[in-house]
Amino acid sequence: MDVAVSVNGTVYERDVEPRKLLIHFLRDDLDLTGSHIGCDTGNCGACSVIFDGKLVKSCMLLAVQANGAQIETVEGLSEGDELNALQRAFREHHALQCGYCTPGMLMSATALLRDNPSPSDDEIKTALQGNICRCTGYWNIFEAVKAVAR
C-alpha cells in the first residue's frame, strides 16, 4: 500500500506491506535507526515516537496507519547539531549508559514536558513508566527531566 508520512518535517512516500510495523518502517525503510526495538510485546518503549502530537509505541502501530501522520523521532530533537536542553540534561546527569532506551526515553520526556512543563516527581515517574531501562535504575533520568522542567 502507498503511504505518505511526515517524519521530523520531511515527507516520505513509500509502498509498504500492509503488515509492516511502524517501527520497522522507520528503521528499515526510512533508515531512521534512532528508534529502537527492545521487546515484542509493547512493554519496553524503546520505539516511542510522537505521532500527531501524541506519544505512541511505534511497534504497536502498522506503517499504513501512519499514512498522512506527522511523526517526530529522536533524530528530530537536536537544534541543528547542538543538543537540545533535554538531551544536554541527560548527558550532564548521566541519565544514559548503553543508550539503547534513550531515544524512547527522550521522546516520552519530550511529550510529558510539552503537556506539562512543570511536572511533579510522581508525574515524571508516571510519564516514564512505559519505558524500560536496564542500565541506570532511572534515578538519573528523573534528575535529568527535573532539571529541564520549569
Partner: protein
Amino acid sequence: MTTVAPERTEVQKGWIGESVARKEDKRLTQGEGVFVDDVKRHGMGYLHFVRSPYAHAHISSIDVSAAEAVEGVYGTLTGEEVAALTDPFFQIAGAPGGAIRDFSLALGKVRYVGEPVVAVVAETRELARDASELVEVEYEPLSVVVDARKALDGEAPVLHDDAGANLMWEGVYEWGDLDAAFAEADRVVTIDELHFHRFNSTPLECDGALVEYNRGVEQWTIHTNNQFPGFAAIMMGPAMRVGIDKLRFVTQDIGGGFGNKITSHPQLVVCCLLARKLNRPIQWTEWRTDFHLSMSHGNERWFHETEVAVKNDGTLLGFRTKALDDAGAWLRYEPLGGVIWAQVAPGMYKWRNIRVEFTQVATNKAPVSPNRGYSRMQQLWFTERVIDIVARELQLDPVEVRKRNYIRVEDMPYETPNGCVYDSGDYARMLDTALELIGWDRMDERRAEAASRGMRLGVGIGSTLDSGTNNFAQSRLINPELQFSGNNEVATVKLDIFGEIVVTLGTTPQGQGHETTAAQVVADILNCSPDDVHVRAGHDSYWNSHAGFSGTYASQFAVTGLSAVKGATDMLAAEIKKLAGAVFGGVPADALELADGGVRIKDNPEAFLPFMACGAIINANNAGLPEDLDVTLNCRYVYRPPFQVPDIERKFGNLTLTYAVQIHVAVIEIDPDTGYYEIVDYAAVDDCGKRINPQIVEGQVMGATAQAIGAAMHEIFEYDEDGNLLTPNFYDYHVPHALDMPPLHTGAIESPSPFTPLGTKGMGEGGGAGIHAICAAVQDGTGKIVTDSHNPYHRVWELLQ
C-alpha cells in the same frame, strides 16, 4: 536521592577523579549510535531460527522444502549440515561434561524449549518468520527433567548420552581444618536448603549480527554485539576449522550486555555458515521472546546440608555445604561457574575453615552463561544468608555479627583460606556509612510508626565483593588439562599526521563509558584535555588492540583496559620527548615537558614543538632524522596482571586481582494481610578504589541496585514441569519500571588497590548486595527465615502464614 562522597585524601590534579560528561552521549542522545541492528548491507538476508517446542525430544525428520520453495526465501541450514561443516565446540569441562558434543544447531535431539533447530534466511524479516512456519520438524517427545535436585536420580532422563548421565562436573573444595573448627564450636547451626533462583539482566537490546563473507580471502566480518570477542573467536575458529584471523569481530554501540552477550557464538557460527552458503550478508536480530527462551540464564544454585560452626558470641569458625548448580541444557561457558565462586569463597568474613562439595548438572532448560555478578553472586548471597540465619539463631544483632567477623582494614591485603588476596577495603566503615544513610539510629521509631499503620518494617544488609580481573588459570581447577592462565588487555595510542591523539581499545563497552574514562587517563599523561583525545568507538579485532582475553566482562576495564591505556600513553609520551629532544638538537628527555598541546623545554618554553608538528615529522616529513631514532608515535601496550598458576591439588591460589566492595541496606514495609511490600528506603555504598570518573561509578552502582531489586522481587525464569518457560517476555518477566524505584542514597569510600597501576578496581557487578539486602529485610520484617533469593509478594504472604 542523596549522595555521600568520600573525603578527599589528596588534592586532585588533572582529569582523573573528575566526573567528566561522557563523550559517547552526544551520538546516543541524538539517535546516532550504531547498534548491530542498524548495520545494513546491500542484498542482505534476514535470518530466523526455527526453535524447539519441546523441552526434550528426538528429531525424527526435518523437511525444509516447503520453506525453500517460497519466493524470497534465500535458503536454510540444518543441524546435519552444521555437523558436516563444523566440529563440535571445544568444551571447557573434562569428563564427564567434556564428552558432550555441542553444535550450533540441534542434531538428532532437542534439549530445551527454544533450542535452535533450523535457520531460515529470506528477503525480509517478516518473510523469514513466515517461512520458518513451513519448516516441518517431526519430534518424538522424551521425558523431561527441570529440577536440578532430581537430575541425578536414576529416574531422570539423560540429556547427553555422550556424558552418560546428567552430571556435568563435580569437585570438592576444602580449606582449613573443618574437624577442629566444629570441635571448637559452641554451636552448629544447620540449614537444610537454600536456593538461588534463575534470572538474568535482560539487556534491552537482544543479541544480533550482520555477517559478511569475503570469498576471495575466505574471511568473515562479524558485526555483532557479542561482548567477549576473544572468547567467541577461541570457540568459533576451531569449530569452523579456520584460523582466528579469518574471523573479524566489529562492534560499535552495544545495548547492554551484563555478561548475557558472551555466549552467542553458536548463533554467530550459523550466520557465518549461511553467509558463505548463500553468498550474501546475513542479518540476525534476536526477538525478545527468543532471548528469554534461549540465552544466558544466570546460574540457579542450591545449597544443601549447610553446617556452620559458631561461637556463642557470634564468631564464625567455618562452614560446610553442598552446592548444586543447574547448568541447563548445554555447557556454553560452564562449568566455569563451578570455580568462579571461589574468588569470594569466604565472602567478607574471617572464617578459615570451609568445605564446599560442588556439583553441576544438566537439565532441560536454557543454557546458563555469565550474568552480572556471575557465580560470585550466588556464593555471596549464601554467605550473607548464613550470617543472618546465624544471628537469628543466636539472637544476636546482624550488624554486630558482621562487624565481629568482617575482615578488617588492618588485615588488608588479606589472604583468604584458598589463597585469594583481597587487596584493600574497610567493610565496617562502609556498613556504618550505609546505616547512617538510612537513619539506623531512628529505626525503632520508624518500626513503631509503621506498626501503628498495621505495617511491618524490615531492615536488611547485603554485600558484594566485586572481584575483578580474572586469573584465567582458575579454569584449571575445573579441568587441569586446560592451557589458559593470566589475563591481558591491549590499547594503542598514536599521534597521527595532524597531531590527532587516537586511542584504540580491545574492549567492547556496553554503556560503561570507556571512551570517556580512557580519554581522562590519556589527557592526564599528555597534559591535554579529554576533548583532544579521540577514542575510537567500539571494538574491531582487526585493529592491533586485540588480545586473547579482549572484551568487556567480569569487572575489569578500570584495571586491564585503563592500565593498557596508561602503558601505551606513557610510551607515547616518552617517544614524543625523544623526538623533540632530537629536533631540538640533543635535549635530554628530563629537560622536556608536555604542555599546551605539545612538548617544550622546561627552562625555555619558547622552544615548543606542537603535537601536530611531531605527528607530521614522523609520518610525513622524516628526512634527516637521526638513523637510530627509535620512534613511531604509534604505541601498543599489553597490560598483563601479575598472576601465578594456582596449586591445582589444593585448589589454592590468587584467582582475581582486585576486590571492589558494595554494601547495601534496604528498608521495607510489609502489609501482613497480603504479603505486598515496598522498599521505603535504600542505601548503596561503594568502594572501588581510585575512581576515574565518580559519576560513571555511581551510575554502575545505581544500575546494579535496580537489577537487584528486580531479581529479588520480580524477575525469575520459571519453568513448568514440562519444561515450558513461564516468563518468556517482558509481559511475564517484570523488570523494574520507573514507578518501582525507591528513594536511593548512595555513598562511596576509596581504598586504592595496591596492586594496580592507577589504584583502580574493576566494578559494576554489585547487584548481589541488593538481592541479599531485600531477603534480609523480608526476614527481619516477617520474623521468618528466608531461604530463597526470590521473594515475590505471594512468597512473603506464605512466610507470614
